[in-house]
């Protein structure tokens, strides 16, 4: 009787732990990323800048540079569309997007702090520009 109860308790604990891990390991935005892009984010070669685009922390390989340039071009196209429909400048929209993207970085990823320096996201919240709307 006691052993059954213990097994149930252990299984429940294991399930909870697995669920928590899954949430940490797979944030919503991570799905659909190119594996090379995901790897570069994870190892800190690239990071999220304040202006809403990706930046290089060190000097990238030609392949990675091409990949990131392409992503930034596609980002800009999406910003342009949405900025137009909202009646704001591309820079304003991109800046807001940057606030969100920096807030959404996960531990170990790089982001640009308000002073322009590259920071590694830790367990706590990211340091965002004071003009950023508090990410909800």
């Amino acid at each position: 009787m006691t052993s059954t109860r213990q097994i149930v308790r252990k299984t429940a604990a294991a399930l909870l732990a697995a669920g928590a891990l899954a949430v940490v390991a797979a944030p919503a935005a991570a799905q659909g990323r190119d594996p090379a892009y995901a790897a570069a984010r994870a190892n800190g070669t690239i990071g999220e800048k304040m202006d809403g685009y990706l930046g290089f922390v060190g000097s990238p390989s030609p392949t990675l540079k091409q990949l990131v340039d392409d992503l930034n071009i596609r980002r800009k196209a999406s910003y342009a569309d949405r900025a137009r429909s909202q009646g704001v400048t591309i820079e304003e929209f991109a800046f807001t997007q940057g606030c969100l993207l920096i807030s959404r970085t996960v531990a170990g990823e790089k982001y640009q702090a308000p002073d322009g320096s590259w920071q590694t996201r830790g367990a706590g919240p990211a340091r965002v520009d004071p003009r950023c709307p508090s990410a909800g």
Binding site: Q31, C99, P133
Partner: protein
């Protein structure tokens, strides 16, 4: 005298651009003119008036006037929903 006055104002303009790049202050200084400048305690114009026409060399460094893009916070708040939606709809680029 005319020459000295012109130089003095030019000097002020440069000082102003370097120390206070905002539009408001620039305009205020221009209206203050000669007496405003003296009143502000600037020594340079007095010196120039006493010695007559003095050549003022342009600084080697270009005068940079920072025009910060004025991003209003209320605008940013309005954009958050659209920005979140953008991430959901284009997960591969974020």
């Amino acid at each position: 005298m005319n020459c000295a006055k012109w130089k003095a104002r030019l000097t002020l303009g440069i000082r102003d651009a370097n120390t206070a790049p905002t539009m408001d202050k620039g305009v205020g200084m221009a209206h203050g003119g000669w007496f405003g400048a003296v009143g502000a305690g600037t020594v340079a114009p007095l010196f120039l008036a006493a010695t007559g026409c003095v050549n003022v060399n342009a600084p080697a460094e270009p005068i940079v006037i920072e025009l910060n893009v004025n991003i209003k916070q209320e605008v940013l708040y309005r954009l958050v929903d659209s920005a979140n939606e953008n991430i959901e709809e284009n997960p591969e680029i974020f």
